[in-house]
């Protein structure tokens, strides 16, 4: 028998706010988290624009051994997970006794790897690296650290799917719980922020060079967009079976009802219409709802000329012209491996508080975005059901549909 899957906790460590309350305020006010980082300019970046969040001090919370294997992805993810577990009323004593899994999205550990290799280059002796670096260097760093700290006993895998990693982590967790294989899973996405992590991406010329006002650089769907702005942090989404959530008396923030996915099977970096279209269609079919039941679309739109156009076409083809659409990346920048999870969290905050966060900097529609309903100002609206898109390099696509929980 298929089971219902609900969300019982969210945690955010984002450039638009640390913690849900701060993020909610930024979403309401259309506040950008984008800065111009001088260090990137000196390092040789074409575009030194980035979302920025400082690293947390974990000493009050974790022992030396628990901290030593963490670099930015795990540190950010720990902070987000700490907040999400608290909201979900889960603690380490419960988790160690009740099978709980972790599927976390992450797709790089560049900063950690380069710092480690620099040590070896300087000292020419691998035995002087120290014991923590290997656990920072591996792509499953978030899973290794969090599963150990929280004594998780269920599924334990990292999901690497480029900029759709966070979204697929929720989707795959949803499928496991729906099938009765797990009761609850810590899902999410983490994205490092450092000059090493985005240098090769910057080299493709895909980032905005609108330096005069960094907060205006990221402008998804706008005719004058000139590229994305990288960003980072972490977002955690706790999902569990409805039975488990009710039994524990956990808050129910929403119900996952659809997960669509597809692969373009074409170009390694260029998006295409067909893959996105199929992902959206599959999500609707899985959710067993009609297009007009979707009250809001949190678009993947990153502010690249081609990507946003493809998505506008796909949204228009599947959902029509009227459904309100916004890309919170206009404020956060592209949170990459984290984005699919953070954008579900942002949308849940909107659903809970009856508003749509603006797609800031949307001033002039282009021929594709004029066909859809892009919301550029804070808008009060009751949302009963939303769809969140995430698309990544390699042509990996994910669409999640989440609705308000009704017994």
């Amino acid at each position: 028998m298929e089971r219902r899957v609900v969300i019982t906790g969210i945690g955010l460590y984002s450039c638009i706010g640390i913690g849900k309350e701060n993020v909610l305020e930024s979403l309401r006010n259309g506040k950008s988290g984008i800065i111009y980082e001088k260090e990137r300019e000196e390092f040789g970046y074409r575009s030194p624009l980035t979302g920025m969040v400082e690293g947390p001090d974990l000493k009050p919370y974790l022992s030396r051994r628990e901290r030593i294997g963490m670099h930015q992805p795990a540190m950010f993810a720990y902070m987000a997970t700490r907040e999400a577990l608290e909201q979900a009323k889960l603690d380490v004593d419960f988790l160690s006794e009740n099978e709980t899994g972790i599927i976390y999205g992450n797709d790089s550990t560049a900063g950690a790897v380069i710092e480690t290799i620099d040590k070896v280059r300087a000292r020419k002796d691998t035995t002087l690296i120290g014991s923590g670096d290997i656990f920072q260097n591996m792509n499953c760093t978030v899973n290794m650290n969090l599963s150990t700290i929280y004594k998780l006993k269920g599924i334990n895998i990292t999901l690497s799917a480029a900029c759709a990693s966070g979204s697929h982590s929720i989707g795959m967790g949803y499928l496991l719980i729906k099938q009765g294989l797990q009761e609850r899973i810590v899902c999410g996405g983490a994205q490092e922020i450092n000059k090493y992590s985005m240098a090769s991406f910057d080299g493709l010329g895909a980032f905005s060079i609108r330096f005069d006002d960094p907060t205006k650089a990221c402008r998804p769907f706008d005719a004058n967009r000139d590229g994305l702005v990288p960003s980072g942090g972490a977002a955690t989404i706790i999902i569990e079976s409805l039975e488990s959530a009710l039994e524990r008396g956990a808050p129910i923030l929403g119900e996952i009802i659809g997960y669509g996915f597809s692969s373009n099977g074409e170009h390694i970096s260029n998006p295409n219409f067909d893959g996105q279209y199929r992902s959206l269609k599959m999500a609707l079919k899985q959710a067993n709802i009609s297009a007009d039941e979707v009250d809001y679309v949190n678009a993947h739109a990153t502010s690249t000329p081609v990507g946003d156009s493809m998505e506008a076409q796909a949204i228009h083809a599947v959902l029509g012209s009227d459904v309100p659409v916004s890309s919170t990346k206009s404020m956060t920048g592209h949170e990459c491996w984290m984005a699919g999870a953070s954008e579900v969290a942002y949308s849940l905050l909107m659903m809970e508080n009856n508003f749509i966060a603006p797609n800031i900097n949307f001033e002039t529609p282009d021929e594709d975005s004029k066909k859809i309903n892009v919301i550029s100002e804070y808008t009060e609206k009751k949302i009963d059901c939303f769809l969140s898109n995430s698309f990544g390099f390699g042509g990996t696509n994910s669409s999640l549909i989440i609705k308000k929980f009704v017994k």
């Binding site: 022992s63 051994r65 035995t127 002087l128 120290g130 014991s131």
Partner: protein, 83 residues
């Protein structure tokens, strides 16, 4: 470095690295128990000894070390060999 300098330096870097009070790093105290070392921590112990005292203890060296006093003896011996 003489023994007093070795002890002063060692107390400082071990307390910083392993987050214990300097007062716990006393001659007669057991090194492994005081610093709460597991197998991975010995890797870090070698790193901080090399960084602060300039030599790398071997696994054979560690076999003879029970107390901090044993370690100070080893460090003194290593400095004597160098000079």
């Amino acid at each position: 470095m003489n023994r007093v300098e070795i002890i002063t330096t060692t107390k400082r870097f071990l307390s910083e690295e392993f987050e214990v009070e300097e007062t716990e790093i006393e001659d007669a105290n057991n090194l492994q128990k005081t610093l709460d070392l597991d197998s991975l921590d010995y890797v870090d112990l070698v790193v901080v000894i090399e960084e602060n005292l300039g030599f790398k203890p071997t696994s054979d060296d560690f076999k003879g070390i029970k107390t901090f006093s044993d370690f100070f003896d080893l460090a003194e011996k290593k400095f004597a060999e160098k000079s």
